[in-house]
Each structure stands twice: as structure tokens, then as C-alpha cells.
């Protein structure tokens, strides 16, 4: 699509007198390859390209189409939708004035994942499933996504960006005597998604890890159930990243706080009255960072054209701020966090998680943390997740629990299921591993919004210890 067409749509929005208008051309390429027991289960490639136009004119209107032949008519439709929404919209919608943004941003990619031949990917995944040996299901997946955006706004922004995310995973499933046990690596589904190219995927040694993953799955069906009761637990990075996602990332979303996301994901316990209140122990420092290099939730600008950056969410254990966009920041009287994102051209930007990270502590490596734990459990990788709509009561299942006795790993338990309340759980955090154990953990399928959207995000963290956690 020519630049002239985008400009004509933007100019029509100006002519119609909108307060703010954006014309967003998005092309999204996605590739999924799934191998199960040596066979290609899925080899899917997707191209989706279209235009989404957002207009503020009394209310918000959004018109999107993949028919790119009449962008001006689409702009008119967005304005008509905005005008029709106005009588029932907020009486005041204040998005402030923003400096126009110009430029280009791209994920740091050494090898474009779409340049790697499909048969090379398939061959590697098959090799990994074969290396698992005797299990009921040996699976391997890889996912690559490239999203190219060109955004023009009535304020004068003119930006382009190319986001790339990619990941790979393996999964061994063993079924025995009515028990189903899985073990995955580096975590289930999309694996550890990164905002990088195929060079990241190649660092994930799925063939080398396959025998160990399969052996643990075989051991898990023979292992005893984890004893119920209160335990000191260490969460590995993969599990801790989901704990951060569900119990911090979501409740700090400004639209949830304002009651705008009630119909699907729900509200939040982190209301304005909670600012400065205790969220966790003094060790807990959580921040949103949308410009973390190579993380799956990074970008140059969000989908309303605000530049990426960093915002504190929890500082020294006290709740500090929210993820916001232009409108929600002003409504909450909070810093603007550039967190408006849209899954595709056909999706309205909404407040979304970016990279929500837990700062590293001083407890050294994971081995150091285990060694400093007299009795406890090391819980590894997520299997099941559930949390209430205010994000207070959670219950997470993990794939495996390693028993720690006198600072050493002694045994293996199956089916660990821990539960808690967000503030008291984070309040029980008494050790976080250091920078040497800190890494990003990327996720592909964060669901939110209505119409539903999914989004890729990431959480940087190092394993951490929590005292007196209830296991069911």
C-alpha cells in the first residue's frame, strides 16, 4: 500500500475535525510447526495484512478492513462510529498533547526466522522428538512471528516498526495407571519466546535436553504426590514469570482498575487507594520495561505511537503505579506507560502488558538459593493456572517439585499445586537470586479484551524463595 493512501486517510481524519486519529497498517506473518511422535502435526504459515483506523470525536470509533482499496472511506466510517458513540461515551476524554514521533524501530534480529527453510526446522524438531525415546507423546513446537507496522497520526507521528518474536519447545507426556504427566523444556507451548530471530531459537538445545525431559516425565508417573501443607518453596524462572504475569502484570493494567475490562478478564485489587501500600516484601521491585533488548514484549512505540520506556510498578515492596495508555494515565492521574497494544490490524489498541520484570536480588545462583534452604520444595514450570478476577486468590500447578533437604535436592514429587493471596504471597518472598540467574521468559498467548486479543509479553526474573506457602 502506498504511503499516499495512508496519508489520504490521515488527512481525511484531520478534515473531519477529530481530536485524535491514527491510521495503522499492519502486516503479520506467523509460522507454527508442530511435530508429534516424529510426524508433522501442523505446518502452518499465515499472512494477514490490513488497515485499522481509530478516531476520537466525542467518543472512540474504530474501523478495520483488509480491503485496502478505499482507505478514505474507512476513515469516514471510523469517524461516524466515533460520533455515534459520543452520547454514551465518557463525558470527557482527555488524551493530552503528545510530541509527534517519527522514525523506525526493529527487533534485534541476526537471522530472520522466515528465511530458515521449513524442512530444516522440521528436521530439527523430529530429531528432538526421537531423542526423547520411549514416552507416550513426544512433541516439539516452534513459533515465529513478524509484525510490521506503519502508523500515521493526526498529531504528525509517522513511525514504522518491525517486531520479531520466536521460540521453540519440547514436551514429553507419559500416561500410566490413570496418571498423565508432562515435562517440558524450556517451558510448554511456545517455549521461551524472545524478541529476537532464529539465532535465539538455535540457542535452545532441544535435542540435547530431550532425553532428560523424557526421563523426568517417566519418573513423574512413579513419583509420590507432593505432601499437602505449608512449605518453603523456590519457584524456578519459568514458573515465577507466570506468577509475575498473573499476580502483578494483570492487576496493574489501568483499564482493569477503571472497570473497563470487567466483562472478560475482570477488575483489579490495586485501586488508587492502594498506591504506596504494601504489595510484597522489601525485596520485591517490579517494573514495566517496554524497551528491554530482545524481550518478547518490546517495541519502539506502542500502538498509539507513544515511545517505549520504563515505569516502576512496585518499589521496595510498595505498590507504585500502573500500566497505562494516554487516556487511562490521565484518568488515573498516573505516569503514561506506553502500554497500548493491538494484536492485529483488526484490533483496537487496549492497555496491555509489556515486559513486566522482577529486579534481581542478592541470593546468587539457583544452586546457591537451594543450598541456603534447609527444607523446602523447588517448583518447576507451569502446568495449570487460575486466579480470581481481582487477582488476589491464585492457584498454580507445576510440572514437578524437587524436595530440598539440608540445602540439597533429594527427591521428586508429582502434581505440586500451590495457592495463596497475592499480597501475602509476595510478602513472604525472602530471597531472590542475583543477576547471574536473571533472564527473560517470553509468553505468546496472553488473552484479554473483548473482542478477545492475544499478545506476546515477557517477564525478566531470577528464581525466588517464598516462605510458608500452602500446597494442596
Amino acid at each position: 500500500m502506498s504511503r499516499q493512501v495512508l496519508e489520504s486517510a490521515r488527512d481525511r481524519l484531520r478534515d473531519r475535525g477529530v481530536v485524535l486519529g491514527e491510521v495503522r497498517l499492519v502486516e503479520r506473518r506467523l509460522e507454527w510447526i508442530q511435530v508429534r511422535n516424529g510426524k508433522v502435526e501442523t505446518c502452518t504459515q499465515t499472512l494477514s495484512r490490513g488497515l485499522g483506523i481509530r478516531a476520537l470525536h466525542g467518543g472512540w470509533g474504530f474501523a478495520a478492513s483488509d480491503n485496502l482499496s478505499d482507505a478514505v472511506a474507512l476513515a469516514d466510517r471510523a469517524v461516524e462510529l466515533a460520533l455515534s458513540a459520543a452520547p454514551m461515551a465518557y463525558s470527557e476524554i482527555d488524551v493530552g498533547q503528545h510530541e509527534p514521533q517519527t522514525g523506525h524501530w526493529a527487533s534485534p534480529v541476526e537471522q530472520d526466522p522466515f528465511d530458515v527453510p521449513v524442512d530444516e526446522k522440521i528436521g530439527w524438531l523430529i530429531e528432538a522428538t526421537e531423542a526423547m525415546g520411549s514416552v507416550d507423546v513426544a512433541a516439539a513446537n516452534t513459533m515465529c512471528l513478524k509484525r510490521t507496522t506503519h502508523l500515521l497520526s493526526t498529531e504528525g507521528s509517522d513511525i514504522t516498526q518491525e517486531q520479531v518474536v520466536s521460540g521453540v519447545s519440547i514436551r514429553a507426556t507419559v500416561v500410566k495407571d490413570g496418571l498423565v504427566q508432562h515435562r517440558t523444556w524450556p517451558k510448554d507451548g511456545e517455549g521461551n519466546l524472545a524478541g529476537r530471530g532464529w539465532e535465539h531459537v538455535r540457542t535452545q538445545d532441544i535435542v540435547g535436553m530431550a532425553p532428560e525431559v523424557a526421563e523426568e516425565a517417566r519418573q513423574l508417573v512413579l513419583a509420590p504426590k507432593v505432601p499437602a501443607g505449608l512449605h518453603d518453596i523456590i519457584l524456578d524462572g519459568a514458573q515465577l514469570s507466570l506468577q509475575i504475569h498473573e499476580s502483578c502484570g494483570h492487576p496493574v493494567e489501568g483499564d482493569r482498575v477503571l472497570g473497563e475490562e470487567m466483562s472478560l478478564a475482570g477488575g483489579s485489587f490495586l485501586q488508587p487507594s492502594q498506591r504506596g501500600e504494601r504489595y510484597g516484601s522489601d525485596l520485591v521491585h517490579l517494573y514495566a520495561e517496554s524497551d528491554s533488548v530482545g524481550a518478547a514484549g518490546s517495541f519502539g512505540w506502542d500502538d498509539e505511537g507513544s515511545p517505549s520506556g520504563r515505569v516502576d510498578l512496585v518499589r521496595e515492596g510498595r505498590f507504585e503505579g500502573w500500566l497505562t495508555g494516554r487516556e487511562s494515565a490521565r484518568r488515573l492521574g498516573a505516569p503514561h506507560a506506553a502500554a497500548m497494544r493491538a494484536e492485529t490490524w483488526a484490533a483496537m489498541p487496549i492497555v496491555r502488558m509489556v515486559n513486566v520484570n522482577l529486579a534481581p536480588g542478592t541470593a546468587g545462583s539457583l544452586d546457591d538459593l537451594v543450598a541456603s534452604t534447609e527444607r523446602g520444595l523447588l517448583l518447576s514450570r507451569n502446568r495449570a493456572w487460575s486466579i480470581d478476577q481481582l487477582r488476589l486468590n491464585f492457584q498454580f500447578g507445576c510440572e514437578a517439585a524437587y524436595e530440598i533437604v539440608d540445602g540439597e535436592i533429594r527427591g521428586l514429587f508429582r502434581d505440586p499445586l500451590y495457592t495463596g493471596k497475592t499480597p501475602s504471597f509476595w510478602g513472604s518472598c525472602d530471597a531472590i537470586c542475583g543477576p547471574e540467574a536473571w533472564q527473560q521468559w517470553g509468553w505468546a498467548f496472553c488473552g484479554k479484551g473483548d473482542p478477545p486479543q492475544i499478545m506476546h509479553v515477557s517477564h525478566g526474573c531470577a528464581p525466588a524463595r517464598f516462605r510458608g506457602v500452602r500446597l494442596l
Binding site: 499465515t46 499472512l47 490490513g50 461516524e80 454514551m88 477488575g267 483496537m348 480470581d388 494442596l472
Partner: protein
């Protein structure tokens, strides 16, 4: 924006299929137009209109399969997608067990219906604006703020393959998912209908607002075992996960489903009958799947006894049966085999609100954030109540109580069903593209286990 058309969809699918001779090729075209309004905090957050086409090109070479999705419907775009699917199939390992694409005869005869409502497809700005206003005002009358979505959509699907199959269908539907908030309380009103005029937004807003007002000051209650009356929306949250973990052929072939090797055996209480209604349901009524096979009814559980699961051509070939018309593919997720489309929990004979029959216990409006991966062989799940939890004594609601978490083996819990409503209620699932829509009656279960509270401390 143009309304999806059968002629256009068929023409596009025919063009996309092209004339490949050394491979099997399928082109599936899905055209969708959606008008929606997003509500939140008691106001209209935005109105949207989306028009999109999706072409699925599927190639099979020696049993190996490649799929590409595109919305570039130019001749060059379609040719590129077709070549990509062919290249992927040629690079994958041959699979001699793959039965290939269906001929017209193998695909069966779809039900001859045209579930299309022109006013829903075309829309009326003024009428729909008034309906939204009605819903917001109905909730406000209870001092409640509404959130949610109202959506009217129309879609056309065409499937063409180079074995001579050519099918086209269309449908419309309207859905609402409304949540009203009031104090600490909330209430839900939702529905899925085939036409816009069947969606009574004022009634849904009123229901959501009324429940929100009733639950605005909930009191503490101890977790534990309670007799529960589940509203259909709560049952549907469970059905969505039951579908995900156990009703597709892949979970059975891998042994992880609660139905694996249980056909003909009792797996739960005799009041449980679950089925995919296929073309009989007017939930999301395209009467053939995206590989062109006519949908048919599939009985998963009949009076507590395990039955069959949904199949596509490929899984049916492996299992030695025929496709039930449930091929599933997604351009966003790995599909994990065939998927359900219209899951029904068969109703019973209990009429009215059923609080009398409950006696004393808890009245659950909805569940939230259910997860069924805890132990799929037992359908062990956890989740939370939301949008109104009420204590009932001697058939009367006595107070609103704070939300609770449940953790239950559902197959076992369904053995304690002591009442089934006589009316089905339909809702589109969150993952509608993957698991379709659902309908359920009220369900009364004795001794349901709530394992925790939702309070902050």
C-alpha cells in the same frame, strides 16, 4: 463495508484452489463482517466495525500436509499462499495413513438450511444505538455500571478442493456479554442468538444490574462442601474446559482424555448427557466444517456412559472411523486436532429457578478462570465464582457472599447431580474459534467442594 456473500466466497475459493495436478489442494474461504460496541465503566468505550477475509490453502502430498493462511486475495497473493502450502507439504515427511481430502460423496450431505438474518447482516445504526442505550440505562436503574460487548456478525464460508468438492454456506449471529458492577458486587447477562432482534439488551442489562445490586455487599463465608445450584453460564465455563481436555480425537489417541478407552463404560453420573449437536444446534450454524465435511451429532457421554469424540478426516482415518465434520485449524494457535463446535449439556425436567430443590446451599451465577489441566483423566478443575454468589436457606436467598475457589474432580462431582433445568441457555465461548459455542441448563450438585476464599488475607 460489504456484507459477506456466498457467491463471492465460492468464487474466491475456486480461484484460490487453482489447478494443481500433482497434489491434493483445498481452499477454504471465510469472510466475516462484525459490528460491535465495547462497554466499560458504565459508558460506551468504543464502537467498531471489522471486515475481513481469510483464505486457507491446504495441500496434501503423499499424506504430508501443509497449510497457509492469507488475506491477500490478489491472484499473486493466492498463488503465493498455494505455493507455500505445497512447499510445506512436500518438505514434510509422507504420512501413508492420512486419508487425504474428501470427495463430494465422502463429505456427506450437509443439512439444507440457511441460518441468515438480513437485518443482522446489514445492521441499523439508529436501532443498535438505541439498544445499547437501553442496556446501559437498565443497569443504571440498579445503580450499576455496565461493561462488556455487543456484537453482530455475518459470515460466509466456501470450501473447494481439486477432487470436485465445492460447498458454500453462511450464517449470522448476535452475542452479548454484559457485566454490571455495583459496590463490591457484579452481575452478568449474556446470550448468543442467530439474529440481532432476538437479543434483548434491555433485559440483559437489567438482569446484570439486578444481580450486581443484590451482591453489592457480600459477606464472608467459609470454604467447604456446599450443595450448589449452578446457573447455565457457570456450567458453560466448565464445558469449555471439558471440551478442551477431553472431547477431541487427539486427546483420546494420546490417552490423556477422560474418554480414552472408556467407550461404553460408566464414567460419571447417569444424569449427564453431553453431545455436539452438529447441524442440529443453531449456535454457530455453519453446517459443514472447514474441510467441507457435513457436521453430524456426536454423543460424548450418554446417561453417564462414555461415547465417541469429534473427528476430522485425518484423525478418523487413524481411528478407523469416519469424520464427524470437526476439522479445526487456527491462524493464531496450534490447533491440536479436531475440535468441538456446539457442545450441549442435555437438559432435564426441573422447571423454574430450582431454589426450592436446592434447599440450602449456594447459588452460583458464573465461574471464572477455570483451569482443567490439573488431572485431565478425572476432569479435575479449579476456578472461582464471580458475578454473584448467594447463600440460600430453605429455598430462599438470604445473603450475598464473597467469592470462593472450587477444586473438584468433575466426573465425580457430576455423579452428585440432583437436578437439571429444563431450559438451555447458549453462550459463545471465549476461545470461540477453537472450541465453538455451548449450551447448558441449570445444574444442581450436592456437596460441591470449595477449597478457598478470594479475600486479600
Amino acid at each position: 463495508m460489504s456484507v459477506p456473500s456466498r457467491d463471492m466466497a465460492l468464487m474466491l475459493a475456486t480461484s484460490a484452489c487453482g489447478s494443481v495436478e500433482d497434489a491434493q489442494i483445498q481452499a477454504t474461504v471465510e469472510q466475516v463482517q462484525s459490528r460491535y460496541a465495547r462497554l466499560g465503566a458504565g459508558v460506551l468505550l468504543h464502537r467498531g466495525e471489522i471486515s475481513r477475509s481469510r483464505v486457507i490453502l491446504r495441500a496434501i502430498v503423499g499424506g504430508a500436509e501443509g497449510i497457509s493462511f492469507t488475506n491477500d486475495i490478489s491472484p499473486e497473493g493466492l498463488a503465493t499462499a498455494r505455493d507455500q502450502a505445497l512447499a510445506s507439504a512436500r518438505r514434510a515427511l509422507p504420512d501413508p495413513e492420512h486419508p487425504g481430502l474428501p470427495t463430494d460423496e465422502q463429505a456427506g450431505v450437509p443439512l439444507d438450511v440457511d441460518p441468515w438474518d438480513e437485518p443482522t447482516a446489514v445492521g441499523s445504526f439508529d436501532q443498535e444505538t438505541q439498544a445499547l442505550q437501553d442496556a446501559l440505562e437498565a443497569a443504571r436503574a440498579h445503580d450499576a455500571a455496565l461493561a462488556g460487548i455487543v456484537e453482530h456478525s455475518s459470515r460466509a464460508r466456501a470450501v473447494v478442493n481439486n477432487l470436485g468438492l465445492a460447498r458454500v454456506g453462511r450464517c449470522t449471529h448476535s452475542r452479548a456479554r454484559l457485566i454490571a458492577s455495583c459496590g463490591e458486587g457484579s452481575g452478568h447477562g449474556g446470550a448468543l442468538e442467530g439474529s440481532r432482534d432476538a437479543l434483548d439488551l434491555r433485559a440483559l442489562g437489567d438482569k446484570a444490574g439486578r444481580i450486581a445490586a443484590l451482591s453489592k455487599a457480600p459477606e464472608d463465608i467459609e470454604p467447604g462442601r456446599y450443595d450448589v445450584l449452578l446457573e447455565p453460564e457457570a456450567v458453560i465455563e466448565l464445558l469449555e474446559w471439558i471440551s478442551m481436555i477431553g472431547l477431541g480425537a487427539q486427546s483420546v489417541s494420546e490417552g490423556t482424555s477422560f474418554l480414552a478407552e472408556k467407550s461404553g463404560e460408566r464414567i460419571t453420573g447417569d444424569r449427564v448427557t453431553l453431545y455436539d449437536a452438529g447441524p442440529e444446534a443453531d449456535l454457530l450454524p455453519v453446517v459443514f466444517d472447514a474441510e467441507g465435511v457435513a457436521r453430524r451429532r456426536v454423543d460424548f457421554v450418554v446417561n453417564g456412559v462414555g461415547g465417541e469424540v469429534v473427528h476430522d478426516r485425518r484423525s478418523a482415518g487413524l481411528a478407523g472411523c469416519s469424520s464427524t465434520g470437526h476439522w479445526r485449524t487456527s491462524d493464531s494457535f496450534p490447533a491440536n486436532g479436531p475440535g468441538t463446535e456446539a457442545v450441549i449439556f442435555a437438559p432435564g425436567t426441573d422447571s423454574g429457578p430450582m431454589l426450592d430443590k436446592l434447599g440450602s446451599g449456594l447459588h452460583v451465577q458464573r465461574f471464572h478462570y477455570v483451569n482443567g489441566f490439573l488431572d485431565p483423566k478425572k476432569a479435575r478443575m479449579t476456578g472461582l465464582t464471580r458475578d454473584g454468589l448467594f447463600e440460600v436457606r430453605d429455598g430462599e436467598v438470604v445473603r450475598a457472599v464473597k467469592d470462593l475457589r472450587f477444586t473438584e474432580d468433575l466426573l465425580e462431582a457430576f455423579g452428585r447431580i440432583d437436578g437439571l433445568g429444563d431450559t438451555l441457555h447458549s453462550v459463545a465461548g471465549f476461545w470461540e474459534d477453537l472450541y465453538g459455542a455451548f449450551a447448558a441448563p441449570r445444574v444442581l450438585i450436592r456437596d460441591f467442594l470449595f477449597s478457598g476464599r478470594c479475600t486479600a488475607n
